[in-house]
Amino acid sequence: MTTGAIIFMALSWTFVLGLTGWAFYRLLTHKAHHDPDGIGPATPPEPPARGH
């Protein structure tokens, strides 16, 4: 492969995989509105305190 093609491929893959990684990181770590059926609380319940 030529240097130009390698650069294009690297940029394309980095952009796509970076966007996917970021989106799923946010999905899996920010669950403030994880309420698919629409009947649950607007915010998730507080995690139990330590020792409980």
Binding site: A5, I7, A23, H30, H33, D35, P36, D37, G38
Partner: protein
């Protein structure tokens, strides 16, 4: 102001989980185009130049449209409208709005009919791979003949096998659809999408580690073929239009199905992050996996010149003729062949089940009919018109529907919904609507893009396609499939067009009956219904 009327009392469906929703949305977007159309388009449109225009189209057209469609859909869901006529009427309180939505009923139904037929080829070839049925057809020409014999095009060949696989594919599709959103579509996505990504990853790795072929070419030369930075083609409008078209096909925008899926979300659910996650998942399947399999494999076995000729001869030749030739040269080629066609089948079925969702929603919500009978009735209609595609394939019947519904129609629907959502509904309300329950704040620049850039970009594509393709095709100066137009084809092409017009009339009549039956007042709008079924006027 007259009182708007409450909807029929059918129970509202909902997604079972957020990851299920994302997988179903991504499954809807990831289709045959990711693995067959994308590599071909990249290869014949200047490689690196195509990729530049492709990513610009993704940012200015694809991702904004994704948010617009999720927004239009969820806004429709507030009034329990999972179909485009209802969604448009919810945005624009005008009697004409619902009839504009007819486009969003014709497209998914007509595309579903011929798409299921193409999808059935993948199921058939997955089976043919396992039993090594095409083994011995080791040249491109022999495999093209094998494919055409299966399609019943070659003299003396039968349609029976193709018809059998079409029936099986259709029954599976309708059965899943009849199971509903969480019980059918979501379960399919949870099974099908991981299998699709697993098979695609294995095939991509196998291709990348292929030894040099008979001419000494390596898979890396295939990637060079796709990513070659040929800037000289950036000033060609055809390259910009090809990349914009690919973004349309790959993200399944302008189809009516994304909006239908989004209508099953509540006001508290995120659509901003879900939308970008769906687009990103689709792009991973397309750019990273789709670009790494078919073209690099073709270059290894047919050389750069041969692969270019194959790419220019069409996506189906690449997927159904070239790839089987490649698999016959590899150890455990029948297993790899099965994986290739199985991944195409899962890519296809997760898209096709989405297509009838807005049509099912229309009859369910407006007439109170049960999901199962609607799904099986639509299955019967799909079978009836699918037979026309099977028997009249060589007469350009399928190409005609693919052009008017699956190409031009997508841009037309996208133009209408963007203008309605961003201009009639107003940018501030649209922006606020998209951000209700959002887990991310979309960069403000996209409000400007969605308000001005996306609609102008879409109008430009629509006008250009009308000038270059639609008018010449309509006047029979050009064939919709790109091949030679013969006198023998004219009655079939005219018939295909008349059927689309008939669908438009029939859906318009149903819409009129539904609005009268439910006593909707176009100027007053619908009554908002929360997820528990209570009206919140």
């Amino acid at each position: 102001m007259s009182q708007a009327t409450e909807n029929t009392g059918v129970s509202h469906e909902a997604w079972g989980s957020r990851i299920g929703l994302i997988l179903a949305m991504a499954g809807n977007a990831v289709g045959l185009g990711n693995f067959l159309r994308f590599p071909r388009q990249a290869a014949v449109n200047g490689g690196g130049s195509f990729m530049i225009t492709y990513f610009i189209a993704l940012l200015l057209l694809g991702i904004p449209l994704m948010w617009i469609e999720w927004g239009v859909g969820r806004n429709g869901g507030r009034y329990r409208k999972g179909h485009i006529p209802g969604m448009f009427a919810a945005i624009w309180k005008h009697p004409a709005a619902k009839y504009l939505g007819v486009v969003g009923m014709i497209i998914p139904l007509t595309v579903m009919i011929y798409y299921t037929y193409i999808e059935s080829w993948t199921l058939a070839f997955a089976y043919f791979s396992i039993v090594k049925d095409y083994w011995g057809n080791t040249t491109q020409e022999a495999m093209v003949t094998y494919l055409q014999t299966y399609q019943g095009i070659t003299p003396g060949s039968s349609h029976i096998t193709a018809l059998g696989f079409f029936l099986v594919t259709l029954v599976v599709n309708i059965w899943i659809l009849s199971r509903g959103i969480s019980g059918g579509i979501e379960k399919l996505a949870r099974i099908g999408m991981p299998i699709l990504f697993l098979f695609a990853t294995i095939l991509a790795v196998v291709v990348l580690f292929l030894p040099p072929g008979p001419g000494g070419e390596t898979p890396w030369q295939g990637l060079q073929f796709i990513y070659n930075p040929d800037f000289s083609r950036l000033d060609e409008p055809s390259v910009w239009l090809a990349s914009a078209g690919q973004i349309f096909f790959t993200l399944s925008v302008g189809m009516g199905s994304l909006q239908a899926y989004a209508s099953y979300l509540s006001k508290k659910d995120d659509i901003a992050l879900n939308g970008i996650a769906t687009a990103a998942t689709n792009e991973t399947a397309e750019v990273v996996l789709g670009g790494t399999i078919a073209i690099p494999a073709a270059v290894v076995f047919f050389g750069v010149t041969g692969a270019m000729a194959i790419a220019q001869s069409g996506s189906f030749n690449l997927g159904f003729a070239t790839m089987p030739v490649v698999f016959q040269q590899l150890p455990m080629g029948n297993i790899l062949g099965f994986m290739w066609f199985a991944l195409l089948f899962f890519a296809g079925i997760t898209s096709s089940v989405a297509m009838l969702t807005p049509v099912v929603a229309f009859f369910r919500e407006e007439f109170g009919w049960k999901r199962e009978p609607i799904a099986w009735t639509l299955g019967l209609i799909t079978l009836l018109f699918g037979l026309m595609h099977i028997f009249w394939l060589q007469y350009g019947f399928l190409d005609e529907w693919d052009y008017w519904a699956g190409t031009f129609g997508l841009v037309l629907l996208a133009v209408i919904e963007t203008v309605l959502f961003m201009w009639v509904f107003k940018p501030d309300r649209a922006w606020e609507s998209i951000h209700q329950g959002a887990d991310i704040q979309i960069p403000k620049v996209f409000k400007f893009v969605m308000t001005y850039v996306t609609p102008i970009y879409l109008l430009f594509i629509l006008i250009w396609w009308a000038k270059d393709d639609a008018i010449p095709i309509l006047t029979n100066a050009k064939s919709a499939g790109g091949g030679v137009l013969t006198d023998e084809m004219h009655p079939y092409i005219t018939g295909a067009r008349l059927l689309i017009v008939a669908f438009a009339i029939i859906f318009s009549v149903f819409i009129r009956i539904a609005w009268k039956r439910n006593k909707y007042d176009d100027r007053a709008g619908f009554v908002e219904i929360d997820q528990s079924g209570r009206t919140t006027v």
